[in-house]
């Protein structure tokens, strides 16, 4: 079965090719083709899943070499696929959720202004799925890198979808650039692997780690460089600033790329490289720190925004923070991180689609202060969104409860007490804050008075909210079902962790608890309920003003300004960069080129003076000839007799 696994990638790739090269001819049926290719990949993914799931652990992993990609001397980069539980998990997530979001996009993108636009959108979307599948299915770090930058390209194209908006164009560029910063880390990590083991394939590198080919310093360098790559792709601190801006893209893009799949690639990278991380506890500590910092930052900023998509974006940042924290725990957490990634894939995609549905109804308005009381008008959206909400804040028995609680428990179970308190505490704090900002979002959107009644949207139209067509609501319903059931399905009986064991190792359980094992779930849920209560106190029982309240205390101001992350980038990188560029342009023109032109001018000037010696008097020429001859003879004589 695995032998033909390249078909999984080929379907969406072919779809993208047909849609992008075919042009207008494919307008009529382009969106259907776009969905069909993903469906085909999903079906093939299911076949792969069922053909491997029954087998023994060792037999669940297989590699297919397709062709030799970059063969030079010892460096033999193979283009191949690795089929194992981890990649199949991602394959199903990407194609499954991807298919639903493709279907949703048929409705969402139906009213695009340009006649070719929906078809082109599906072309880009298929391209994204193909690249993402290469990322997760590749059998080496270079193949991963191909997918890694490929999804970056798709993300660039789709964030910048509304290209005539300068903000969208800038956001797209920013996303690509910050990703590239991370990619440099990944690239250098690959160089180190090649230097040490002479290969970039997973098996060779991991064997090298097992054989002790890497020194501990190299291992730490690898973990940090791979983490840098993961931070870029997954919007982790300090490269988190692009992800909220990426919400400039259409909402299905935010749902698929910037919530469910692409941004979780960093987690995949770390889980995939688990032998390296397992071998380097120091590196893992940095991973945990990054995860904890990011999850708190994301929550804090999420509390301050009024833009529904940006709140969800920061929520994504913080949830991925949880995942990074989990995989940073090493053998205690790889599987938990992936599990949270899956449940998050369901409920966050569902939440984004819900937000898209709301925006669809509200003339693409994203400011929650203009919403209110939409629960009755959009019942399906409300219910599906509500289920996703409950899953996200971790109310049992919804999926988020199982996956997040497991991570918090693992964080609290670390051997060193200070780590357990600090990181477990951050995770608990995050849970409370998550409940707060999500409750705030739900209250502002679906409850309260209908603030949109008396105002117009920014493009001057009146609001006439309505429920979305069924092509959009059905994917939302399916995802809501997943949000409800996935956690229990994965977690009860440890089904999922056992299934992943051949790839990421058996999940270890800690026996060191700073807080008793049985108390943790109660504590988590209690803190979440506290967050809900606070949100109700601050938002739910009061009237929501149409404009932001001013002035506000410093923490709120800081949160509204993304905790000054963008200021920091601007001040430290963008502005000095601009100055440096300008200075260099000046130097190049005036000095470097000036030197060249100066030489020319010097030669020209001096020859202008020298030609004055040409007086035109024959006798002076004759004199100089005579003088020259005498000098010549004198020189000859001097040489002769010296």
């Amino acid at each position: 079965m695995a032998g033909a696994a390249w078909l999984v990638v080929a379907f969406p790739l072919l779809g993208a090719l047909i849609l992008l090269v075919g042009g207008k001819r494919t307008n009529a049926w382009g969106h259907l083709l776009g969905c069909a290719t993903i469906a085909a990949s999903f079906v093939y993914g299911l076949i792969l899943f069922f053909s491997t799931t029954g087998q023994e652990e060792a037999a669940r992993t297989s590699e297919v070499s397709l062709f030799s990609w970059i063969p030079v001397d010892q460096l033999q980069v193979d283009f191949g696929l690795r089929i194992d539980p981890l990649s199949i998990t991602f394959l199903l997530l990407i194609t499954g959720v991807g298919f639903l979001i493709h279907v949703y996009s048929i409705g969402y993108m139906a009213h695009e202004p340009g006649e070719n636009d929906r078809r082109r959108f599906f072309g880009y979307f298929n391209l994204f799925v193909a690249a993402m599948l290469i990322l997760v299915l590749g059998n080496g770090f270079v193949t991963l890198y191909l997918g890694w930058e490929g999804v970056g390209l798709a993300s660039y194209l789709l964030i910048g979808w509304y290209t005539d908006r300068p903000s969208a164009a800038t956001a797209a560029k920013k996303a690509f650039l910050m990703n590239r910063v991370g990619d440099v880390g990944l690239a250098i990590a690959i160089f180190i692997m090649f230097k040490v083991v002479g290969s970039t394939q997973y098996t060779a590198v991991f064997d090298g780690v097992a054989n002790g080919a890497f020194s501990s310093g190299e291992l730490v360098a690898l973990t940090l460089l791979l983490l840098l790559g993961a931070c870029g792709k997954s919007g982790q601190f300090p490269l988190q600033a692009w992800l909220p801006d990426a919400m400039e893209g259409p909402t299905p893009v935010s749902a698929l790329i910037h919530a469910a799949t692409m941004v979780t690639a960093g987690v995949y990278l770390i889980a995939r490289s688990n032998p390296i991380y397992t071998a380097s506890p120091d590196g893992r500590l940095v991973v945990v720190i990054i995860g904890a910092v990011t999850l708190v930052i994301g929550c804090v900023i999420g509390c301050a925004y009024d833009d529904i998509k940006k709140v969800l974006a920061y929520s994504t940042v913080s949830q991925i923070g949880y995942m990074i924290l989990a995989v940073g725990l090493g053998p205690f957490g790889y599987a938990l991180g992936i599990m949270h990634l899956l449940t998050h894939g369901f409920f966050k995609a569902g939440l984004f689609l819900g937000a898209g549905s709301v925006m669809h109804a509200m003339n693409d308005e994203v400011d929650m202060r203009k919403y209110g009381g939409l629960a009755r008008i959009m019942p399906v959206t409300f219910v599906t969104f509500g289920l996703g909400y409950l899953a996200l804040i971790g109310v049992p028995p919804f999926s988020g409860f199982f996956s997040k609680d497991a991570i918090i428990e693992a964080a609290l179970g670390q051997d060193e007490t200070w780590r357990a308190w600090v990181f477990g505490g951050a995770a608990l704090l995050g849970a409370a804050l998550t409940a707060f900002y999500m409750t705030r979002l739900v209250l502002m959107t679906f409850f309260g008075e209908k603030r949109w009644k008396d105002i117009k949207s920014s493009d001057g139209r009146e609001f006439h909210p309505h429920e979305s067509p069924s092509v959009m609501t059905i994917p939302m319903i399916v995802l809501a079902v997943g949000s409800v059931g996935a956690g229990a399905f994965f977690a009860i009986g440890d089904t999922f962790t056992e299934w992943l064991a051949p790839t990421v190792g058996v999940l270890e359980e800690s026996h060191h608890h700073v807080i008793p094992h049985a108390v943790v779930p109660w504590l988590t849920v209690g803190l979440s309920l506290l967050g809900v209560l606070l949100a109700w106190l601050f938002v739910g029982r009061k009237r929501v003003p149409l404009s932001k309240p001013e002035p506000v205390p410093f923490p709120v101001r800081a949160a509204r300004a993304d905790l000054y992350g963008n200021h920091f980038n601007e001040l430290l990188i963008a502005r000095p960069g601009t100055w440096l560029t300008r200075a260099l342009v000046y130097i190049d023109n005036k000095w470097v080129d000036g030197l060249v032109n100066g030489t020319a001018a010097l030669l020209g000037g001096s020859s202008g003076r020298l030609r004055r010696a040409q007086t035109g008097f024959v006798r002076s020429y004759a004199l100089s000839m005579l003088g020259g001859s005498i000098l010549l003879i004198a020189a000859l004589l001097a040489v002769r007799f010296a």
């Binding site: 035109g616 008097f617 006798r619 005579l626």
Partner: protein, 99 residues
């Protein structure tokens, strides 16, 4: 009689010719001074031919004479045409070819 005197004579003639070229303005005189220098060289060539007992120097002298004859033809023609257009035979007057 040593050949040195011949050499001294030719050096003297050459110097007279060279000074003449440098100090005289009349083109015809300058021209004649050049002839003087050429003949001084001829004398040297013949002398050395005699000293070395080879004929190379004499052959060279003939060569110089032929060139001098040709030069006289061209040179005088140029001087004549300049004199006709400018009414002057001074070498300092024809100084257009400068800078």
């Amino acid at each position: 009689m040593t050949p040195t005197y011949y050499l001294l004579l030719s050096a003297l003639l050459f110097s007279i010719g060279a000074v003449g070229v440098l100090v005289r303005r009349n083109a015809i005189v300058v021209f004649m001074c050049i002839e003087l220098m050429l003949n001084a060289v001829n004398l040297t060539l013949v002398t050395f031919s005699r000293i070395n007992g080879k004929l190379d120097g004499q052959v060279m002298a003939f060569f110089v004479m032929v060139v001098a004859a040709a030069e006289v033809v061209v040179g005088l023609a140029i001087i004549m045409s300049i004199f006709r257009t400018r009414r002057s035979a001074s070498v300092d007057d024809s100084n257009l070819l400068k800078y």
